[in-house]
Amino acid sequence: MTLDASSLQVVKATDRRLRRTDRSKGASIALHAALIGASAIAVFPVFWVFITSLKPDARAVEPTPKLFNESSLDNYTRVLSGEKGDFLAWFGNSVLIALMTTVIGVFISATAGYAASRFRFPGKRGLMMSFLLVQMFPFAVLIVPLYNILIALGLNGTSIGLVLVYCTTAVPFCTYMLKGYFDTVPADIDEAGRVDGLSPFGVFWRLIMPLAKPGLAVTAFYAFLTAWGEVAFASAFLSAADESKTLAVGLQVFVQQNRTEWGHLAAASILVAIPAIVVFYLVQRFLVQGLASGAVKG
């Protein structure tokens, strides 16, 4: 057991202001150590995938893993050149589906969230409760009925069908979040807008939406990730043709029955993770503020 002399000193110090802003050295070290440790755990799997992505498949399964082992960018060039399946087409499909889900999902949950935040109308409570209910049903089990409906609507095998399905998973949460966020925007702004002659939609679109950017950023992030990483529906609904697959479905080609091409899988995974991380980086400064006000008022 070691005692840090400097930490004892600060306990004795009587200046309260000093104590709040400055920490003892020991406490600082412990704080940073805890944060560094946690960050390392958070980042390590991604880092390890990156390390693996540079190794040939055979080197990726050696019993004593090394950091670098015949490492090169070969896996990336092979994945990108389409040797293992039409990676770029999958990528395009995923981008298209994820962006459409984000735009449609955020737009309709913003209108619903705004209505729930500002107006009192019969059925509002029931609506909000049904959103919670929707979260509870295991979606995997809805696949057969959904499949029938998409056929009936003529949307089977199309990206629009998939986008609508993703919206149903993303929209309830997004609506809750945005309602909470709109609650924090003062209603005076709406009234001022109405006095100046804007319609209710004008107020929503021209005044409230720009003010709600942090909330919108969080919901966009959520909707994007919902669509970007989804496996079950994409494998069930998209046609088997290689060029209509999304990434989540396409990557299964690297996982065969008895053997996994870890090197290639890792390289493809890194390529898939990059757009998600870029989106994340763009919205991350809004995340805390946006999520908090949504959840506090939820």
Binding site: L31, L35, A38, S39, I41, A42, V43, P45, V46, W48, V49, A60, V61, E62, P65, I108, S109, T111, A115, A116, F119, F121, S130, Q135, M136, F137, P138, A140, V141, L142, V144, P145, L146, I149, T168, V171, F173, P200, F201, F204, L225, G229, V231, A232, A248, V255, S269, A273, I277, F280, Q284, R285, L287, V288, L291, A292, S293, A295, V296, K297
Partner: protein, 305 residues
């Protein structure tokens, strides 16, 4: 009626798109799914529009529920699986919440490099779940996985993580904890930032110890955020399917209700939609009961939610 519309039409116009989408793509399939639970529908007798084959399944009453609830092994050992699902859900949410709260409190201090730490700590959330699943499956591998390599070099036993034992459940709980902490951390960090600093100063003036400040200022200040995120966390974890399915596959030691429903749904020659739907309805019922109790407990404490 006219006045009613005059008053509310813009509110309804704004919620209409959501209502239509939810009604068509959730409520109607849900009703159909509930209907399926009273039939013996499967891949062989469902209507097939491609082959232009009409549906030939029959109404069987409560037979599916009896089969499932009697807990037979051929129907997924319902009660054992339910217990495992509860263990999975509560341990995951417990770790999400405690670790998330701990990290949020660290990040809520003045600390150099706070933005960098925050970005790094949220990273698991940003990576698509199927990729994290691959990554962890690779790291958990008994022969060439980095985790066992580290354990061996530290002289610790190296279990077969994803084999036919309870280690499989431990593994998926570890992975899901890793995945779910960032969401809780961010939500709680926002909650912490909304607690006025005066409260802490007042508590300090009154001579409260750090533990008392945590107990009587921090926790009550986080009550409303916590109640929402914990409920959401429990619902999401209960139905968390990709993590287990992609990492452990159809391993019965890591099976929870959702993954079994999906197994019945997708694997096997017969694709038993009826049993899968029965599981779906039972999952929904469990969660509804839970949510009702949860709300009642919150309301008793004076929370309006």
């Amino acid at each position: 009626m006219r006045r009613f519309l005059d008053r509310y039409w813009y509110a309804y116009a704004m919620v209409l798109p959501v209502v239509v989408v939810i009604a068509v793509l959730v409520l109607y399939p849900l009703a159909q799914g509930v209907y399926f639970t009273f039939t013996n529908i499967n891949e062989g007798n469902i209507a097939n529009p491609v082959l232009e084959r009409p549906a030939t399944f029959d109404f069987v009453g409560f037979k599916n529920y009896l089969n499932v609830l009697s807990g037979g092994d051929s129907f997924g050992a319902f009660w054992g699986t339910l217990v495992r699902t509860l263990i999975w859900t509560f341990s995951c949410v417990f770790f999400h919440y405690t670790i998330g709260l701990g990290l949020a409190m660290l990040l809520n201090r003045q600390v150099r490099g706070r933005t960098l730490y925050r970005v790094l700590l949220i990273l698991p959330w940003a990576v698509p779940a199927f990729i994290s699943a691959f990554a962890w499956k690779y790291m958990f591998n008994a022969q060439y996985g980095i985790i066992n390599q580290l354990l061996r070099s530290a002289g610790l036993p190296d279990p077969v993580w994803l084999g036919q034992s309870n280690w499989a459940l431990v593994s998926v709980i570890i992975v899901n904890t890793w995945l779910g902490v960032p969401f809780m951390m961010v939500a709680l960090l926002g909650g912490l930032q909304s607690i006025p600093g005066d409260l802490y100063e007042a508590a300090e003036v009154d001579g409260a110890t750090p533990w008392q400040r945590f107990r009587h200022v921090t926790l009550p200040g986080l009550r409303s955020v916590s109640s929402t995120v914990v409920l959401l966390g429990i619902i999401w974890t209960f139905n968390m399917f990709p993590v287990i399915y992609l990492i452990a596959g159809p391993n019965p030691n890591a099976r929870i209700l959702v993954t079994y429903a999906f197994e019945r749904f997708f694997s096997g020659a017969s694709r038993d939609y009826a049993i899968a739907s029965t599981y779906g309805v039972l999952i929904l019922s469990v969660l509804l009961v839970f949510a009702t109790i949860y709300r009642r407990a919150l309301r008793k404490q004076g929370e309006v939610w």
